[in-house]
């Protein structure tokens, strides 16, 4: 039940991020949408690892159920990758704004078409 609720929440958050990414014209808002999408995967990975009453898998520690640490490791890696991608996206946004004075992706398409 808890796991299903977490998956549904993650799916909802992902949908919000994807909607923002596909509908927003402002590059900053697109960056925020990318960040929201990344968060949804972290939520889903944590939900995938959930074991009711599960203990941390520490050597020498005895318990009836252990939690698989793999999804947590994957979540940490996904956070790092997401942060890297977001940093590049923001750096590109800054570079574009300095030259064109706008972060509206539709206006930038027109401007760059004229440049080429």
């Amino acid at each position: 039940m808890m796991q299903t609720a977490a998956y549904l929440t993650a799916a909802g958050v992902f949908a919000i991020g994807l909607y923002g990414m596909l509908t927003q014209r402002d590059m900053i808002k697109i960056c925020i949408s990318i960040s929201i999408m990344d968060s949804s995967f972290v939520m889903a990975l944590v939900a995938a690892a959930y074991v009711p009453g599960g203990a941390a898998p520490i050597a020498g520690f005895e318990a009836l159920r252990f939690v698989d640490p793999l999804p947590h490791a994957l979540a940490l890696t996904a956070i790092v990758i997401g942060a890297g991608i977001l940093a590049i996206a923001l750096a590109l946004t800054v570079a574009v704004y300095r030259h064109y004075g706008t972060t509206d992706i539709a206006r930038l398409f027109i401007a760059t078409r004229e440049d080429s």
């Binding site: 990414m21 990318i34 995967f41 995938a48 698989d68 994957l74 030259h99 992706i105 080429s116």
Partner: protein
């Protein structure tokens, strides 16, 4: 334990650090350092490929932790074929860049980025772990965005951002597929997922398969997910576009095929997916060639041509999936033949086009009128590669298209291949006529001060173009290599066996 599978990743990563260090301490030796790194990496790739082609699959468990606890790397005959393409790519791109003469800050950084990009592509090729694959795909994305946006032109930043948006959706879908497979099987090790795949619930298997096809479809430019490619290649410039199209795109094709055949067991569990790929392949051929024909910019024309040629590869792949069993080996070999040929042809086209664009200071086709007489070596290489990519006998491009057509079980894909060949003859022929016009404009711009006599660059593109032409006349030697590589994909015992033995150690 043989360390070659991990060395193909470690050497270029360490090399990228070395290039950056040399660039800081002795900038004059940066190109030499890049060439040394490329040579060392290519040698390692060839050694790993030789082992993968001539013996059983090479298994490497990182830190001696066996799957599912640790990460496994593996080189079999199928991945060995792509390692060979990477060896050609890294060495050729280092040789081509030696004479670029560009001393800008971004150009200096791109040598290290190229080494990292080839490290990521090597990682995608050797990994046998789904999450590890995701990490290498993302690393390749980050490097490619850096290479696309490396120019000072702000349009490159816009194109880089568009590519990043596409890559984000692609990465999200790949991570979703990995998550689904983990939830369904409890592991991310490919051999163990493959064992469990036939028993997976149909909806989970279908979701993972669809997510993987769309994810890599964005990367390889499946219509209509190709929207980012022409803009990106144009902004990246010919040097980088060649690396992205000829080598990066092919490794993503490899990842798609590996995932469909191996962990997902699609030919057995979900054979219907290959009919969809067949239709997508035909749409790609017709759309790519049609768009290339109406395109007025040389780089964008070559980008649309790449989209079309992904279609030819998919036709071979789809035929293999629909045939199934050991007979699929011939269809996979045909797809691999066209993959290898397109790598040679497209790198030769982009890199020879670089010289032509450099001299005329424009990539508009009409501005390149009469340019052939100012760069005869480049236009010869371009023409040879164009003959091959059109599919004129007896070039390698003709042979690969012929084998893909022979693998088809219906008439329609064969007709589409023929139509694509005719359309490509029109647009490459049109460019050749314009470039060899006898009346060049009076006011040709003065040559760019950098890279006036790129003899090495011309020699490299000529070698690639001649190889693309000659491969058609050496099909007996090429065929044995291709069949061995195709067996690696279709006969998975070669891939699964060592992994399971390793598990028991």
């Amino acid at each position: 334990m043989n360390h070659l599978p991990v060395l193909v990743v470690v050497i270029p990563v360490a090399g990228a650090f070395l290039i950056s260090l040399v660039d800081t301490v002795r900038p004059a030796f940066k190109s030499t350092a890049a060439l040394l790194v490329a040579t060392a990496h290519s040698t390692t790739l060839v050694a790993a490929a030789y082992r993968g082609m001539t013996g059983p699959a090479l298994l490497y468990s990182v830190g001696e932790w066996i799957a599912p606890v640790g990460i496994s790397l593996m080189v079999d005959s199928f991945s060995a074929f792509f390692l060979l393409l990477l060896a050609i790519g890294h060495l050729a791109s280092a040789l081509v860049r030696i004479e670029s003469g560009d001393r800008s800050e971004w150009a200096r950084k791109s040598a290290a980025l190229i080494a990292l990009f080839f490290a990521a592509l090597s990682g995608i090729t050797v990994t046998a772990d789904l999450f590890n694959l995701f990490i290498f795909v993302e690393l390749a994305t980050v490097c490619s965005i850096g290479l696309i946006a490396r120019k000072r032109h702000p349009g490159s930043a816009v194109a880089g951002f568009v590519a990043l948006m596409a890559a984000t959706i692609s990465g999200a879908l790949l991570l979703f597929a990995v998550l689904v497979l983990y939830v369904a099987t409890g592991t991310v090790a490919m051999p163990l997922v493959a064992q469990a795949a036939p028993d997976l619930p149909a909806h989970l298997h279908g979701m993972a398969t669809a997510a993987i096809i769309v994810s890599f479809g964005i990367k390889i430019g499946l219509v209509p997910m190709h929207f980012w490619q022409p803009r990106t290649y144009h902004a990246a410039g010919t040097t980088v576009a060649a690396i992205l199209s000829a080598f990066g795109l092919k490794i993503h094709v490899y990842a798609l095929l590996r995932l469909l055949w191996f962990p997902l067991q699609a030919p057995v569990v979900l054979p219907g997916v290959y009919s969809i790929l067949l239709v997508m392949g035909m749409v790609n051929i017709l759309t790519g060639h049609s768009m290339a024909m109406i395109e007025r910019n040389l780089v964008r024309m070559l980008a649309f041509s790449s989209i079309a040629h992904v279609g030819y590869i998919l036709l071979g792949v789809a035929a293999a999936g629909r045939i199934g069993g050991s007979a699929a080996v011939y269809a996979v070999a045909a797809a691999l033949f066209h993959t290898g040929m397109h790598t040679l042809m497209k790198s030769a086209l982009f890199w020879s086009g670089h010289r032509l664009i450099h001299l005329s200071r424009s990539s508009r086709i009409m501005d390149l009128g009469g340019i052939a007489w100012r760069a005869p070596g480049s236009i010869i290489a371009f023409s040879l590669a164009a003959l091959a990519i059109i599919g004129i006998p007896p070039t390698g491009g003709f042979a690969s298209k012929w084998f893909v057509a022979m693998a088809q079980q219906a008439l329609l894909p064969v007709l589409v291949i023929g139509a694509g060949t005719v359309i490509s003859l029109v647009y490459y022929g049109r460019f050749f006529l314009i470039a060899t016009r006898r009346d060049p404009p009076d006011s040709f711009p003065a040559p760019h001060p950098l890279s006036l006599r790129p003899r090495l660059q011309t020699a490299v593109v000529l070698a690639l173009a001649v190889a693309a032409v000659m491969a058609g006349t050496r099909d007996v030697q090429v065929r044995s290599l291709l069949l061995r590589a195709a067996e690696g994909l279709v006969d998975q015992a070669d891939f699964v066996g060592p992994a399971l033995i390793g598990r028991g150690r």
